[in-house]
């Protein structure tokens, strides 16, 4: 691994710039770009006091206080991190208690973040844990700006995509304080994964989205006509029977009355087709898409994530580069590999370009500029404002082209504000370009 150590050292410095005051910013960036540079030595932290100081100063956000979150908080606090924040939008359910060990029966109904934070503070001397009973999407930029590191123990792809896109969006390579590594853990039964994402430096979550397979979904014709499994009957009740009976009311999977109705209709259908095995618990599992959680898999993955956090912050050893899979269903197998960045990743593949133009420039003239400018050279770009979601000019399909064509002759001042971000795509190129257009005074 000596090959990349210079790159990693540069990364550590980039992440913790205030702790390496002697390093000039230019060095950091050139070393980051020059990944072939060899240096040899594995970075080591100076001494225990220094490590302690780093752990004391480093503010870590733990996202999720569920199965992984409980483990993460415990591991991070016991590893010496002293300023932890935890965010979770959920309250404690009685079914959580078998593995989410920071919670007791008397805590049922209380916010997970609040109870988990109090438990850790009480148990681990010197650890300060600040709870946030909220959705990650609702927090302001100031909130995220205060952290050096984000560790995620989430249960949905959607939340991960949001967190990843947010952190990549905030990262500015010219300002290392804005680059906040994201350590992401995930488990599904006996399988799990841990990965380290350094926004705009390593591949991001979205880069590998195409590789994921969707969760179990049954063909709708099977559900409608030829059910063979109890799951088919339950899906029938929720996808077909429910909308028929309650066309204006979507199923609320947290409402016991709704679940009871689904269970009853699924049972009737199962009986009709001679299928056994529809139970209330299975109904819950299918409609809420519950993935079996194994306490020890959570422990393994959370421990791996916590160690990466420790290594990233103290530079004591090389960190995970950048994805570890853990398979516990075929014996035991783990493997680590480096996902590559995708040039056409909609989240981290977009380069930001800044253009300053005369305000009376028309949109058509801006398009000419994009085609001619040697570092852009887009011949058929589609433009849309990231600010207002307004479609400025779309090349296709024909109806959208016709409706946005009148914009071409308008001056930019009529279409956007100065400094607005425009998302540019071009059907001939696998890229997303973020264009910030400012008007010259």
């Amino acid at each position: 691994m000596a090959l990349d150590s210079a790159k990693y050292q540069a990364l550590y410095r980039a992440i913790l710039p205030q702790r390496f005051p002697s390093i000039a910013m230019a060095d950091v960036l050139s070393a980051t770009e020059n990944s072939a540079a060899t240096d040899g030595a594995v970075p080591t932290a100076a001494d225990t006091d220094e490590i302690r100081r780093l752990l004391h100063d480093c503010k870590v956000l733990v996202v999720g206080a569920g199965g992984l979150g409980c483990e993460l908080l415990k591991d991070l606090a016991l590893s010496g991190f002293q300023d932890l924040h935890v965010i979770d939008m959920d309250t404690i359910d009685v079914s959580n208690l078998n593995r989410q060990f920071l919670f007791r029966l008397s805590d049922v109904g209380k916010p997970k973040a609040v109870v988990a934070a109090a438990f850790i503070e009480n148990r681990v001397q010197g650890a300060k844990v600040t709870p946030h009973y909220a959705k990650i999407q609702d927090m302001a930029d100031d909130f995220y700006a205060q952290f050096q590191l984000v560790v995620c123990g989430l249960d949905s792809v959607e939340a991960r995509r949001w967190m990843n896109a947010y952190l990549v969006g905030q990262a500015d390579l010219a300002n290392p304080d804005t680059i906040k590594p994201m350590i992401d853990g995930g488990t599904e039964g006996f399988n799990g994964q841990a990965r380290v994402i350094i926004p705009k430096i390593t591949s991001c979550y979205e880069c590998s989205l195409d590789l994921f397979k969707k969760q179990m979904v049954y063909p709708i014709c099977t559900i409608a006509n030829t059910p063979r499994l109890p799951e088919h009957c339950i899906e029938w009740a929720s996808v077909i029977a429910w909308p028929d009976h309650f066309p204006d009311q979507p199923v609320d999977t947290d409402n016991p009355k709704h679940l009871r109705w689904l269970y009853t209709s699924a049972s009737k259908r199962a009986e009709q087709f001679g299928i056994r095995g529809v139970t209330y618990t299975l109904t819950q599992g299918v409609v809420k898409n519950i993935i079996p959680a194994i306490a020890s898999t959570n422990a393994i993955i959370a421990a791996a994530c916590a160690n990466e956090a420790l290594k990233l912050v103290t530079s004591c050893h090389l960190h995970l580069d950048n994805y570890m899979m853990y398979t516990g269903t075929e014996g035991v197998y783990t493997y680590t590999y480096a996902y590559s960045r995708r040039a056409d990743c909609p989240v981290c593949g977009q380069e930001s370009k800044h253009l300053t133009v005369a305000p009376q420039l028309t949109l058509a003239e801006l398009l000419d500029l994009l085609a001619e400018s040697p570092d852009i050279q887009l011949a058929s770009p589609s433009l849309r404002s990231a600010h207002t979601n307004r479609s400025l000019y779309l090349q296709a399909p024909p109806q959208l082209e016709q409706r946005t064509r009148p914009n071409l002759s308008k001056p930019l001042t009529e279409l956007m504000e100065s400094g607005e971000e425009i998302i540019v795509t071009d059907r001939r190129l696998p890229i997303y370009l973020s264009l910030v257009v400012s008007f010259s005074p």
Binding site: E206, A224, T388, S391, A396, I423, T425
Partner: protein
Amino acid sequence: MSLWALKKQAVAAERAKPNKVNTAQLRAQKDVTELDLPKTMEALFPDPDDFLNFELVISPDEGLYRGGRFHFTFHIVPNYPYDPPKVQCTQKIYHPNIDLDGKICLNILREDWKPVLNLNSIVVGLQFLFLEPNPDDPLNKDAAEHLHKNSASFASQVRQCMQGGVFNGVSYDRVV
């Protein structure tokens, strides 16, 4: 004013962005502007600023359903392309793989959807359904059985239903 202060100002301006583009929207911009529609199809956007919701009109020029104009709504969900778009037929039509509520039995709309697929894959799939109705994967069971038993009689029923009117107690939309 120092360069650093300018930089801070720029960062602050960037953070003040009222509307962060979500990942579904980024990918949708690419997929929508790359829609490759044959001459038998047309995409309609009621609001050109909202391409997460649009209509697709298919006018098959061959097969049983030729001459009809079939309307579908597309809704690109917030977790696109991890989750497939929601597609529905807005008319009542007689088709073995499309039920009377407009639900469609097309594998890539549900169990075989993958994020590498895009809107063009779905468009091709829908086109295929009109050229080759598949009685082995029925959603409208009666229509499928009809096609199985007597394809000539099924074909004439399709042609009749496309004119609109009530058949076997079901009121079909006129699509020609």
